[in-house]
Every structure is written in C-alpha cells, then in structure tokens.
C-alpha cells in the first residue's frame, strides 16, 4: 500500500534512481541521528562534568565530518547521473544544504564538549546550568522535529519548528541576562560564566540550524523558498 512518503520519491521508471534517492535520505537521517546523539551527550557531559564522555564526543565529530563529505559526494553523483528535476532536484539541493547544517550542529556539540572539559576542570559550583538544560532540551527537540519533518516530508511540522526558533532566541536573551547578573554579583564568576555563555550561544545556533533544516523541508514539499519570508507568508505557503 503506497504511503505518501514512498510515492513522492519512490516511483521512478528507473528503480536504480529510486534506490539512490532512498539511500540518500536514509544516510541523511543516519547523520541526523549521529548529530542528535552528539549534541545530547555534549549537554550531558557538561552537566555531569564528565570529561571522558566529552573526549568521546570530540573524537566522534570526525565521523560526522566524514558523513558530510560522503553525502555531498553521493548527491553530486546523482545530479551527474540523473539530471534530476522538480521534487527530486529539490530533495537533492536541500540535502546538500541541510548536510552542512548538520555538520555545523556537530561542530557546536564539539565546542560544548570542549567547554565541558574546561568547566569540569575548574570545578566550581554550576551557574547557569538550569538555563543550559532548558535551552538544550528545547533545541534538541527542534532538531529532532526538523529531522522527523524531513523523514515524513511534513511541512506543517517544519513550520512549527520554524516558529520555535523565535522562542529559543528569547530564552537565550533571558539566560544571557541571568548570567550577566551572576557576573555582576561576583567578578570571580566572569570566566566561568563566559564559558557557560558560549555554551548557550552554541545551543542558540543549533536552533538556527534546526530552523534552516525545517525551511528546506518546506521547500522540498512546497517548492517555495521561505527562508526570508515573514511568518504569515510562510503559513500561507504551508497552508495553501
């Protein structure tokens, strides 16, 4: 029984072309899963002060980088072999762009892991970790939902992710103010608070990347580029 997802990319006259597109999707989702794990664990390593886990994350980033290269190569080969058009073309162009977003999320996870090591070595009482946990959970959910929206080609879910990005920005601003207060209370907190601030900044960037992925999903399904459109226009594209 054909589902929407299979119909969209899986019914070419050329079965080999079907297989190539399915493989591209599968590999992209695999990379997405790796990056999600990396990010989740980097936040965990920070909060637990787990230097060993942080080291692992830094090492694993190479695998994420390798997947980026492989996915780009596969996408390029499909273009060369198949000269894809319309939704196939939109899928491939989007994957090339989204792979870059995922790789950067991987880099942010690596940065957080590095800061986790520094913070655990300093060994002072945690400040701002509540905010890190809160925003971390928020952007992890966004990333997860964006990847799900890709898997299901679900523009409505993608739009919800895009809307969340604004909330993350607000949460980041609020957290930055809180940390600023800590720093003003006691200047000895400054170095440590700045490190936490970098973590928050990284998480906020992850939200942006999740938002980019969501925008690409809308482009894949609707054929409209909403990256610089207002939220009202984006809603029209998705609703219409």
């Amino acid at each position: 029984m054909p589902t929407k997802k299979d119909d969209v990319y899986g019914d070419h006259t050329s079965h080999a072309f079907n297989d190539e597109l399915m493989e591209l999707k599968a590999q992209f989702l695999k990379m997405g899963g790796m990056v999600e794990t990396q990010l989740g664990e980097s936040i965990q390593a920070l909060i637990d002060g787990d230097g060993h886990l942080a080291d692992e994350i830094r090492a694993n980033d190479k695998k994420v980088d390798q997947m980026e290269v492989e996915l780009d190569e596969e996408a390029t080969l499909i273009i060369a072999r198949r000269q894809p058009a319309a939704r196939d073309l939109r899928l491939i162009v989007s994957v090339i762009k989204m792979v870059s977003d995922l790789e950067r999320v991987g880099d942010e996870a690596k940065k957080i892991a590095k800061l986790a090591i520094q913070l655990s070595e300093e060994g002072q009482a945690p400040r701002g970790y509540v905010e890190v946990r809160h925003i971390g959970t928020h952007v992890l959910t966004m990333l997860h939902d964006a990847l799900d929206a890709f898997a299901r080609l679900d523009s409505e879910q993608a739009l919800r992710v895009k809307k969340e990005d604004k909330r993350v920005d607000e949460e980041y601003q609020a957290a930055a103010r809180t940390l600023l207060t800590f720093m003003m209370e006691d200047t000895r907190n400054i170095s440590r608070c700045m490190n936490v601030m970098w973590v928050l900044r990284s998480l906020e960037r992850v939200g942006d990347h999740a938002c980019n992925i969501a925008e690409n999903v809308i482009f894949m399904e609707k054929g409209e580029d909403i990256r610089h459109a207002s939220m009202e226009d984006a809603e029209k594209v998705v609703g219409g």
Binding site: K5, D7, I47, R82, A86, D88, R90, T137, L140
Partner: protein, 297 residues
Amino acid sequence: MNTMNTTATRDVAVEEQEQKTQPVEDPRPEQAELEEGKTVGVPYVDDPKFRLRDVEVFYGESRAIKKISLDIAKNEVIAFIGPSGCGKSTFLRCLNRMNDSIDICSVKGSLELDGDDIYNSKRDVVELRARVGMVFQKPNPFPKSIYDNVAYGPRIHGLANRKSDLDEIVENSLRKAGLWDEVKDRLDATATGMSGGQQQRLCIARAIAVSPEVVLMDEPCSALDPIATAKVEELIAELSESYTIVIVTHSMQQAARVSHRTAYFHLGHLVEVNDTNKVFTSPEHEMTESYITGRFG
C-alpha cells in the same frame, strides 16, 4: 539528560506515523483525469505571434489534439515536451499547415498568425511556410551543393534579383547558422557529404534564408552528437533575438536549457505551460512533475 530520541527511535516513530497515514490517492498519470481544454500555468501572453484557441486535430475519426488553447509570444523560444504520441509534433505542424499533406488529417479551432487566420482557404500556403519555416528531426539537405541548398528558397520566392544579392543571402544565412567559417571554401561541395551536425545547421541556414518570422523545430538535435547539439542550441539562443522559435524535444535538459516557456502535452491535452525555470524546479501539475522526473513516459 540524554532523553532525546535518536535514529532508532525516529524510525519507529516514522513507521507509527505511516501506519496512521491514510494511503493517499495514487497520483500516477494513468489514474489522473484530464479536463478538456484546461491548461495550468501561463498559456496566454499579451500581443502574441500565434493565437491558438480550441485547436483540435483529427486523423480520420481519431482525435489527436483535444481543444488546446495557447499563445506563442514574439521572439520567444517555447519548448513542447511530452511522451511519444502526446500530440506535440502534430500540434507543431498545425502552425505552418504541414498537416495539409496528410489526407485524413483535419484541423478545427482558431489558429491565428499576427491576427490572420492560418487556415483561411484563401491563404497562400507557400507564403505561410516562408514566414513559418521548419527544421526536421533528421537533417534533410537536398542532394545539391551547399550553396544551392541555401539559395533554393530565396530563388523560388524571388528574393534576389542579382547573383550578388543571392551570394549575400547565402553568406548571411550560413553565418547566422554558425556554419560559414566551416564551409566558405567549399560552397560547391555536395551537402550530403557534410557531417550530421553540419547538415542540420545547413537546414537551419536554409530555413532562415527566406527571412522567416518563426522557425519550427521538430526534435532538431535527436540525430546529433553532444557537440553538434551544443552548437545548435547556441544557435537557437542567437536566433531567438530575431525569430520566434517553437521546438519539440524529447530531451528535457534541452528544453530546460534553450526555452523561455515549456509546454507539457499528454494524450492530446496541453497539461501545463509555464516559465521553463518553474517547470523544471516546481511544476504546477502533478503529471508534468511525473514526466520530467522520469516517473513515466
């Protein structure tokens, strides 16, 4: 902290979602119904060269073209695409009454060139074909010299009184067709000895020698190698500055490269006409999408 789902759980989530998802209607073209005379996209333009309305073509009892309406703009390159037997060549041949040579073929509807009825019984068909030239799939030079091939049309239409005028027309036409430098030293050589790509460009030179307003091309590159194809495509881009060009092609990439608008035909219907960039990135009609992405045809 690591409570988020990862790949494994996403797969399960997707499967669950799929089970919940109702199977959508099968979008494959044979299941889709086409409404007669309904074309999505931009079939009409202001001040067209051709104004075609409710055109129907019959081969005996069989209706090959089903109420197609379309405008073709001045100096436009429009590509007709679609699977074999969809009627794109038949429709193209209506534009200069090439279908007249087929006894059982009849054409209905309104077909106007610059506001004048193409199928008016008083119209001089030879004059029409001088205005609306044609280049065919297979290069078909006359078994004459290169010079005589190009000079043939101007001679029978009386476009040149003196030999020097004719020489000028031949040179200009060969130059426009990008062939002059290759043949200028052997104009008396027989045309059938040229390469396929050169023969096709000679046919284009022959078509434009009578100063047409429109050039119809019926799969002009399907018998050519990639280099010769590139030369013809380059030529199409240059010619579009002076002529209206209608090209039927089986190569979607060619349509994407050379045309301004693309028209998709299916089973005698004109399904979609749109800006070529739109057709190849996000077509409006599901059937256009299926065809250009290689899902049938």
